[in-house]
């Protein structure tokens, strides 16, 4: 499938984990992709080498997603160069778990400002070009943690719940302009970010997942590419759980 031939995409948090898989998937389907990475230049360069894209198809930008002005600089520059922004995937996210009584204000702020604030910043930056072009698709990476409680994740759950609310509100706002906004809520996925919790409770978690295995970043990227593509042209304001059935509950 080459659903993104002639299209352009921006992916935040693109050098690692789910974001990286999204970059690879969108590029493999023909998109010109710019990805944002926070600090790991080595990982960003390795990804560019690994994907062996055509000259200019893949670009990397170092940026802190908490910086709104920088988001606008990057998006405005890409818009000037590309003439269009078709897809935005907000995948930049961090975890800094801690029980409430021990959670520092920095832990709270870092997670909220990166996960939710970063999503706001890049949505804000693409709104003008997408609105004016009367087309675009935004996919925000949420989490099943937004709705299913885990101890010590008040900051993370709040940030992801915030993303769900932002997604639905923005979807309604931009729908008259033919811009779709959706979210993906991954369950337990094999990434660096989840390795601590997988290390502690991996086997136990697997038992709770109806599909009986931890998900792969590529499986999230596949669902993200679907929502970003015209295959999902009648879908907006939705939070799609991609979790092997973990959130089904029951017995």
């Amino acid at each position: 499938m080459m659903r993104f031939e002639g299209k352009t995409a921006i992916v935040t948090g693109g050098s690692r984990g789910i974001g990286r898989a999204c970059v690879a998937r969108l590029a493999a389907e023909g998109a010109r992709v710019a990805f944002i990475y926070q600090s790991n230049q080595q990982a960003a360069e390795a990804l560019i080498q690994e994907l062996k894209c055509a000259e200019g198809q893949l670009r990397a930008f170092q940026a802190d997603v908490r910086d709104l002005q920088r988001a606008h600089e990057i998006v405005d520059g890409l818009f000037e160069e590309w003439g269009q922004i078709d897809v935005l995937v907000n995948s930049a996210g961090i975890v800094k778990d801690g029980l409430m009584g021990a959670m520092t204000q920095d832990q709270w702020r870092d997670v909220i400002e990166t996960n939710l604030g970063g999503t706001f910043n890049y949505c804000h930056a693409v709104t003008q070009p997408m609105m004016m072009a009367r087309r675009g698709s935004i996919v925000n990476l949420s989490s099943t943690a937004a709705e299913f409680a885990a101890r010590g994740q008040a900051n993370y759950a709040a940030s992801k719940g915030g993303i769900n609310g932002l997604t639905r509100s923005l979807a309604k706002e931009l729908a008259p302009r033919n811009v779709r906004v959706n979210a993906i809520a991954p369950g337990m996925i094999e990434t660096d970010m989840s390795q601590v919790v997988r290390g502690i409770a991996g086997d136990q978690i697997k038992k709770m997942i109806p599909l009986k295995r931890i998900g792969q970043a590529e499986e999230i990227a596949a669902a993200t590419a679907f929502l970003a593509s015209d295959d999902a042209s009648y879908l907006t304001g939705q939070v799609l759980r991609v979790d092997g059935g973990l959130s089904l509950g029951g017995y």
Binding site: M131, M132, E173, P176
Partner: protein, 130 residues
């Protein structure tokens, strides 16, 4: 330096694109909400297009001061207070608020802004010749 005629033509084009209306409907007297069917999100779209057409920056809320109209400090029982009206006058020197001030129902606010107001607004931002 554009003439007033050129300012009108560019605004007309921006409104045709943003609102999907016919060019002949965009007359100076036409109201943006009542006659041209603009909704709140359209004002943002219009601002984007004006910025591009005239190469200017328009602070958000200057053309359509939604923040004042939704601020409990300036609105009571669905009407804009005296204090709110004076804020609106400060923010929108290009618009004639006298009629609105007689019965300042928030819901009716959108109806007062005309294409001519918008031309005056842009003329205050760019130098124009006659």
């Amino acid at each position: 330096m554009p003439t007033k005629e050129e300012v009108f033509e560019k605004i007309q084009a921006a409104l045709v694109d943003a609102l999907g209306v016919d060019e002949e409907d965009v007359t100076p007297e036409a109201t943006l909400v009542g006659d041209l069917g603009a909704e709140s999100i359209d004002f943002l779209d219009i601002v984007f297009r004006l910025e591009k057409a005239f190469n200017i920056k328009i602070p958000r809320g200057e053309l359509f001061p939604e923040d004042i109209l939704t601020d409990a400090k300036y609105v009571q029982d669905g009407k804009v207070t005296e204090e709110g009206l004076s804020e609106l006058r400060k923010r929108m020197p290009f618009a004639n608020l006298d009629d609105f001030a007689k019965n300042p129902v928030v819901q009716d606010f959108g109806n007062l802004l005309t294409v001519a107001d918008m031309c005056r607004f842009v003329e205050s931002k760019v130098e124009v010749t006659d």
